[in-house]
């Protein structure tokens, strides 16, 4: 493939996004796409239920890991074929397969990876979430330093487990508002809103953790006694627990997934 061909694909992709209703103001913030092997759109802009101010979520296929980028409301995550492979059986993988739309796919690898995503293994989602939720059992040491990161993760695990439990009940649902109605729990909408803009509070953190506990049972005790000790002691293992602990240190997603030794967590 020549660089001219790559430029043509990138130009066509932007035109396709425009035709899907993505506003020009967002398209201006899309980074250079020429180096990508494949590109897809997912999330609300792909489903067609975006509202004013919704993000544009893009996924780029690359050959070696690189940090995701955010420019304005445009979020471009880079995945290698191996990283996408770890999405098999996950909510993320199923979500990509269901809602995503491939914009270009030079080698066919992106489409092939989506084909392999398959059904969500809800038992595994809950099992992995339980393991990671041990990070919520040492709040006295960790909340003073890492409340924003831990709250973000409590929200992520609660949302994932709610989705998984809806699927395993045979009533899949990926709308937080709908789940709030089903559970008779109006606060869920606020706690799990994709644009949670409130100042992180210990109260919201406790609300999420107690709901998570009701959903998946008592959380396992921390193996290492604190978030920092979890990172030091799990260093080099490459598991979910390390990734989750590392990401709780905070900062932007671009900063933490800059660290290639720590893998993404795909639930």
């Amino acid at each position: 493939m020549t660089s001219d061909d790559s430029q043509d694909l990138a130009t066509e992709a932007l035109a396709d996004l425009g035709a899907m209703g993505v506003p020009e103001t967002l398209l201006r913030d899309v980074p250079d796409l020429k180096s990508l092997e494949g590109l897809m759109i997912y999330g609300s802009r792909a489903r067609g239920d975006a509202v004013d101010g919704s993000d544009l979520d893009l996924l780029g296929l690359v050959q070696s890991p690189r940090p995701s980028s955010r420019s304005g409301d445009v979020h471009l995550s880079y995945y290698t074929p191996a990283q996408l492979g770890s999405g098999v059986g996950t909510l993320f993988g199923a979500h990509l397969k269901r809602d995503g739309r491939v914009l270009f796919d030079k080698s066919g690898e992106l489409g092939a990876a989506l084909e392999r995503m398959g059904a969500v293994n809800t038992g595994l989602v809950v099992k992995r979430s339980r393991n990671m939720s041990q990070l919520f059992t040492t709040p006295e040491l960790d909340l003073p330093r890492y409340l924003p990161g831990l709250l973000r993760e409590a929200r992520y695990l609660l949302r994932s487990c709610l989705y998984a439990s809806a699927i395993s009940e045979g009533r899949p649902c990926f709308s937080v508002r709908e789940l709030a109605l089903r559970h008779g729990d109006p606060d869920l909408s606020r706690l799990l809103a994709s644009r949670y803009v409130e100042e992180p509070s210990e109260q919201d953190y406790s609300q999420c953790v107690s709901r998570l506990e009701r959903l998946i049972g008592p959380l396992p005790s921390s193996q290492h006694g604190s978030l920092e000790a979890t990172i030091v002691n799990e260093w080099g293992t490459g598991g979910d627990l390390l990734s989750m602990a590392f990401m709780a240190l905070g900062a932007s997603s671009a900063e933490f997934d800059d660290y290639a030794e720590v893998e993404k967590v795909l639930l």
């Binding site: 040492t138 040491l141 330093r145 920092e228």
Partner: protein, 200 residues
């Protein structure tokens, strides 16, 4: 031939590579060795690497410049937060100093396991080495002056980047297929070893 200065790039916790490069330098007519910082993290031997180079500095045979990893370690030990150090991979150095797993209060245990001599050395590492026609630092901001500039910090791949104005000698030691590089001045001869310390 007059004796030369050796500049050594980021070691990042790889003791076999450090020992290999020191052997290679020993075989040359080198009067002084300048390490460009980032002795710690990534590899498993942060403590051992510093323990190996500190006596060289004490004897006057070497100059140890500071790197961003050392500065973050000092900042963590000073209580300005462990998170920035952990985010750059400080867990590797903490494990090396503590000697394995840690208990819940990581900072207290880390502080207790770093010898005072190491803390003092880390605090007093200069940022630059300057001679008449060459200047070295872990990294440079804006280029100034006409002296030859030797830097590290940015992994440039297996082969150092050497131009007429300067050289970049971080060749990814401790990373997969990385190497440790020494650049001799003024000849610009390059010595390299792999992560096991074998000449390449």
């Amino acid at each position: 031939m007059t004796s030369q200065v050796a500049f050594v790039g980021d070691v990042h916790g790889c003791l076999p590579a450090l020992r290999g490069i020191l052997r290679a330098i020993d075989e040359r007519d080198v009067s002084h060795t300048v390490f460009l910082g980032d002795y710690i993290n990534k590899g498993s031997d942060s403590y051992e690497v510093l323990a190996e180079v500190l006596p060289l500095a004490a004897s006057g045979a070497a100059t140890l410049l500071t790197g961003n990893h050392e500065q973050a370690m000092v900042s963590a030990l000073d209580g300005r937060g462990l998170a920035p150090f952990l985010k750059m991979g400080g867990a590797a150095a903490i494990r090396s100093y503590v000697g394995g797993n840690v208990g819940p209060d990581v900072l207290t245990e880390f502080r207790a396991s770093v010898p005072l001599s190491h803390v003092e050395a880390l605090r007093s590492m200069p940022e630059t080495f300057e001679a008449e026609d060459v200047i070295a630092a872990h990294s440079f901001g804006t280029p100034t002056g006409s002296r030859y500039r030797v830097s590290a910090h940015v992994d440039v791949g297996q082969v150092p980047v050497i131009s007429r104005q300067g050289a970049q000698i971080d060749t990814g030691c401790s990373s997969a297929s990385g190497r440790l590089t020494a650049l001799l001045w003024p000849s610009l001869a390059v010595l390299q070893v792999d992560n096991k310390g074998a000449r390449v």
